[in-house]
Amino acid sequence: MRYDLQIIASWIEPGSKVIDLGCGEGDLLQHLISNKGVQGTGIELNEEKVARCIEKGLSVLQGDINEEVHDYPEGRFDYVILSQTLQQVFQPDELIRAMLRMGRKGIVSFPNFSHWQIRLQLLFSGYAPVSRQLPYQWFDTPNIRVITLKDFRRFVHDVGLKVLKEAAIDTHTQDRYGSMVQWFPNLRATYGIFMIGGSEGA
């Protein structure tokens, strides 16, 4: 399983109720169900991936996460996970608010755009940065937002929520291995992972 998903999994209490938005082929859900006894479900847009999930015996809905998040009862889940998808979301504030309506805590991970390599690329080459975490050209990228760890912290504060936990990690997109970044995370981390909750402390 991807390194960032391993970190996310380690944050989840055994036996809790979890939904994974953009769950792909369900690796994280399967891991959480087998190892932590969670009640897990997921939403995924791609039919092929949804089918893989259901074939594995996972409970997964095909649909657009921006629409699907609205039908759940308040507080239906303990954790709502959005991994490596925030940078593709059209209205992040709406989605994050919906996440914290349907769940008590949200867990969000995304590639850090202020990594030193990205900074240097822009500074020296003058072209829009292309990295292993964001491997697209400006004209074909699905990633419509660039976010840094600092940006996200400020955003969470501005929308009236609270960061409950955070991790800065150095890993590659599909890599099983990585490490935690303690010093200068905004400069050295390739990904950030945040657990967020309502401002009352969730």
Partner: protein, 390 residues
């Protein structure tokens, strides 16, 4: 639903099966229908496949669509030319694995394939019911199936599964008898017919009733309303296909000729196909049953019947885990109708999976052999079987 009955390409089959009959509701204990009318005795034709486990927790009830019957899989004899209507799904190692599950399929009441319907004998008069047969609902069909499930000694069904009108019965089961259904798979179905679906059914019914041989439903001693029923079937067939599948299957190709006939014979392949389907249907199906079952489907409205007009409230009664499936080219029961089911289940906090399968075959897609649907059903059944009840 159309017929897509082919031998399994790998020759895998449940083998020879036999139709069985269960009779109940003998007077004075008749079944009270939703309309308030009484019906009895009631006979249900059914078939079973595989073995019931000692704990009786592996029963899967398959529910058929408009023109289907209890013969879901296998053959009636060693030299039978056609297997059951969902042979590609039900059998050893298939999507609904008869090595592991006890599969039941029953003909709906109102039909003509062995269960009590308008072509059965009315014990009160000694004659065929005809239009004296009371109008039955999807709820009545399900109530009758419950009597059969009781008779088989099954307290709780592992799963109810069906497409189209069979899918309506799946939803009805989940709401009417929630404690008796652990899991449900409504396929290519809806919680209520759109005006478009009712309109097609009405044109089909009018075609039957306009046939002089129909004689207000009293035709069992003479000529059948064959032309009316054939046209009704042709209309149905159009709604089961899609623009894309018809383009691929027929296009504008001509049937056995290189130019137009300049008369009203069947020139185009699509005309010839529809005429053939219509003729074939007349041999095996009763025109009055067609009227009754299409009417039951048009009346079906899960929210109105069970939730005071609210589908969310109706499905709040359900306790099953759900796998909802729609098909991209199904314009009779389009994906938005499946999504309404999913939405109502989500609002109730139910465990629901949903997949919209890319398929060009229109409404009929659920009957056509393919890889995707059996794999989904297999994975889902595996989970509910092992995961136990919620």
């Amino acid at each position: 639903m159309s017929e897509y009955i082919h031998h399994d390409k790998d020759r895998v089959s449940v083998g020879v099966v036999a139709k069985q009959y269960f009779s109940f509701a003998a007077p004075p204990g008749e079944m009270v229908l939703e309309s308030g009318a009484r019906l009895g005795p009631v006979v249900i034709a059914y078939e079973t496949y595989g073995a019931l486990a000692p704990d009786r927790r592996n029963a899967v009830l398959v529910l058929h669509a408009l023109s289907g019957d209890s013969h879901v899989a296998g053959y009636y004899s060693a030299d039978d030319e056609k297997p059951g209507w969902w042979d590609c799904m039900v059998g050893p190692g298939k999507g609904i694995d008869t090595d592991r599950f006890f599969v039941i399929c029953a003909n709906v009441i109102g039909s003509c394939m062995g269960s009590t319907g308008p072509s059965s004998m009315n014990p009160a008069t000694g004659r065929t019911y005809g239009l004296d047969f009371p109008v039955v609902t999807i709820g009545d069909m399900v109530t009758a199936q419950r009597a059969l499930v009781d008779h088989l000694g099954i307290d709780r069904l592992l799963c109810v599964v069906g497409g189209s009108i069979g899918g309506m019965q799946v939803l009805e089961w989940c709401v009417r008898y929630p404690e008796r259904v652990a899991a449900a798979i409504p396929l290519a179905t809806t919680m209520r017919h759109s005006a478009l679906a009712i309109a097609f059914n009405e044109v089909a019914r009018q075609s039957i009733m306009a046939d002089p041989n129909w004689n207000h439903g009293d035709y069992y001693d003479g000529a059948k309303p064959a032309l009316g029923l054939a046209v009704a079937r042709m209309i149905g067939h159009i709604t089961y296909l899609s623009d894309e599948s018809m383009r691929h299957k027929f296009g504008r190709r001509l049937q056995d000729k290189s130019d137009f006939s300049f008369n009203f014979d069947a020139d185009f392949q699509v005309e010839s196909y529809l005429r053939y389907q219509g003729r074939k249907f007349v041999d095996r199906f009763d025109a009055n049953s067609f009227l009754y079952i299409t009417k039951a489907a048009d009346y079906f409205d899960l929210g109105k019947q069970h939730g005071g007009g609210s589908a969310v409230k109706a499905l709040s009664k359900a306790r099953a885990r759900f796998l909802v499936i729609s098909f991209t080219s199904d314009w009779l029961y389009p994906t938005y109708q499946a999504k309404e089911i999913v939405k109502a289940l989500k609002k109730n906090g139910r465990d629901v999976s949903f997949c919209e399968i890319e398929a060009e075959w229109g409404h009929d897609a659920f009957l056509i052999p393919g890889e995707r649907l059996p794999m989904l059903i297999r994975g889902f059944l595996e989970r509910v079987h092992h995961g136990g009840a919620e």
